[in-house]
Amino acid sequence: MSTILPILALLIFPGGLFLMASGLVYEYVDRKLVARYQNRIGPRWFQPLADVVKLLAKEEIIPHGVQPELFTLLPVVGLAGALTAALYVPLFGFESAYAFKGDLIVTLYLLSMMTLCLGLAGSNTLDRFSLIGATRTLTQLFSYEAPFLLALLGPALAAQSWQINEINSFSQAHMPMLVTQVIGFIVSMVGLMGKLELPPFDAPEAETEIVSGALTEYSGRGLALFRIGKNVEMVIALSLVSSFYLGGLAFPFPGMSPVLAGILNVLIFLAKTMGLLLFMAGLQSLFARLRIDQTVGLWWRIGALLALLNLLLVIVLKSLGVGGYWL
């Protein structure tokens, strides 16, 4: 019995299938919000589910000139990386499943594995659009990775730890770092949009220039797995940023009955991540698409500098002995 429960937790709830289903819910909310910002109706609640079911039911066409094993394996590896990263993040009001010192770095690199798989998938073909899309994906990976990591490092420095659940407990006990590290929050939000390839940073997937970027040649199951992987990534990254900057998730609530504490935690999780999604959808609708060279220039000049400034502030304040509730 004790071996079945972890397996169920891993595959069904709250990992695995439940995580993929919640990815679909988050995709629906994102699309609906962007539509409402643009004064139109938007899809119905089962649209992302219908998309995935349709794609899974279609034939997967393997184009001429690719390596078939790599072609079919890459979506699976990308999705697996995204799902594994869920083990270390406090999701859905639960504490993270496993934790060890330094798991922040491991989580971030597992999330980047998805982008790497996209880049490899694009380079694998002979199609010119995919090659250009893959180049842009990898260029964007190199440019946003450093500022995003630095922005997530701010709370890590304040909590004096590289372990996600320790940083989470630190955020619960102190003032939300949204207020104390505003610059870091903004950089991490923008970095989040770069990681998920959302507009205005969707140059790797620009529909009007290179059809669909690295995913042009994918169809059927491979495309469905990539889409699910992207949605899972969105859920995980949102919970990561909200647990760092928005005051923590999975509160212990000592003295309250476990059921009540559980329900409260779920509500807090939903409120924080959906609030972040509202903000992110607004940012998505406000800007035109940036060219890839403009993205790189923006990130390496402004993004990295701002993140470094944020780190400097945290270090200076910490060394000055500011503590207590604030830091």
Binding site: N39, P63, R128, P199, E209, S285, A288, L290
Partner: protein, 393 residues
């Protein structure tokens, strides 16, 4: 699909099927990383043989055929044809009909420029501006539907005048709609000229100097964005423009931002002209009697379509059927401005450049033959097939 390499560079095809293009056309850009080093253009995918069909239909049927050359500038095509036929027949159209034709032409210009704004925003990834400008464009489409009965292909012209009148209730509706559109377009002008992300996609992209625009023969807002003063409504006024003159709108920048500004500021001119005509509407008949047979002769009529100068050359042989109708559309003149300017831009700028000249592929396609020394004028069906097969090898 083989990776086509020309020398050491990469060739990226845009079209004939591509999400960037609303209509089929084939562009091949030779790129080196992200930088474009060469561009070629191939058109001809939407050729329908309209000029040949025009010889088998009488002049009234041709009015409707010519309207369907293009969906966005349909009224000016019918207008140019009607003007040509009326000139050959030697009739003068009553002033009220001229005024109504002008109002419909200006309303069409409004709808075309707002459509262009949305499409340009979409190519630049700015979907919000796309959705909002198309939402506001519905106002002018509804106005045209109230006046003429159809949202596209208004069929307002008959040989000798117009089909319908503008009642007082319709007049009030037009004025109310124009007020709403004017306020929204002031807002869009502000967005387009101040939003840094959109400026990053349009400023200093596709810069064409005054001399280049002159030599390459650009027309319409593409030329006016480089300071060239070409506008048929001012240079050779037709219908009601002699009585209600238009002020030409030019910009000096020559880049995509200048062309955008020209189009939006032209909208304000259109609003002003429509209000002025509605205020001073000349009374009178709507049509003048015209015979079914147009006398022999040939004539050229020029009008200003939303994209530039549109020329119709009609040769008549005295019967009900025209001998030859030749259409020269404005988009045809603007293509060379892309291929000469595309080098040294990034690949991501290519869709923006393409949309900057406001291409209308349906207007473009026609067959041009180059006469060589010893070739005959006639080609049999087998000859044409052979040429087609050879071309695609």
């Amino acid at each position: 699909m083989e990776t086509k390499k020309v020398g050491d560079k990469f060739v990226v095809p845009i079209g004939p099927q591509h999400p960037a293009l609303k209509e089929p056309g084939h562009f091949e850009f030779t790129v080196d990383g992200e930088n474009v080093t060469g561009a070629t253009i191939r058109l001809g995918f939407v050729h329908r043989g309209i000029e040949k069909m025009a010889e088998k239909r009488n002049y009234t049927q041709n009015l409707y055929l010519m309207e369907r050359v293009c969906g966005i500038c349909s009224h000016v095509h019918g207008l140019a044809f009607a003007l040509g036929a009326e000139k050959l027949a030697g009739v003068t159209v009553p002033p009220r009909a001229q005024a109504i034709r002008t109002i419909i032409a200006e309303l069409e210009r409004i709808h075309s420029h707002m459509l262009w704004l949305g499409v340009a925003a979409h190519e630049g990834g700015f979907d919000t501006l796309f959705m909002y400008s198309w939402r506001d464009r519905e106002t002018v489409m509804d106005l045209l539907e109230t006046l003429s009965g159809n949202r596209v292909h208004y069929s307002a012209n008959v040989l000798g005048g117009v089909k319908f009148d503008i009642s007082d209730k319709q007049r009030d509706e037009i004025l109310k709609g124009l007020d709403f559109l004017e306020e929204r377009n002031h807002y869009y002008l502000k967005v387009v000229t101040t939003d840094n992300t959109f400026l990053g996609r349009t400023r200093n992209i596709g810069t064409m100097s005054h001399e280049q625009a002159d030599i390459l023969g650009a027309v319409g807002p593409t030329a006016r964005g480089s300071g060239v003063q070409r506008d048929v409504r001012v240079n050779a006024p037709y219908i009601a423009y002699p009585d209600f003159p238009i002020k030409m709108v030019t910009e000096e920048g020559g880049d995509l931002l200048a062309r955008t500004k020209v189009r939006i500021i032209e909208l304000f001119e259109s609003f002003r002209i429509i209000r002025e005509i509605l205020d001073h509407m000349p009374p009178g008949d709507l049509t003048v009697r015209m015979g079914r047979r147009i006398p022999e002769g040939e004539t050229i009529s020029r009008v200003e379509a939303p994209r530039g100068e549109l020329i119709y050359h009609i040769i008549s042989n005295g019967t009900e059927f025209p001998e030859r109708v030749k259409v020269r559309t404005p988009s045809l003149c603007n293509w060379s401005s892309i291929s000469s300017v595309a080098v040294d831009h990034k690949l991501a700028d290519m869709p923006m450049l393409l949309v900057g000249i406001d291409p209308c592929f349906s207007c473009n396609d026609r067959m041009i033959t180059v006469k060589r020394e010893n070739s005959s004028d006639e080609m049999s069906w087998d000859d044409i097939r052979k040429i087609g097969i050879e071309y695609y090898k």
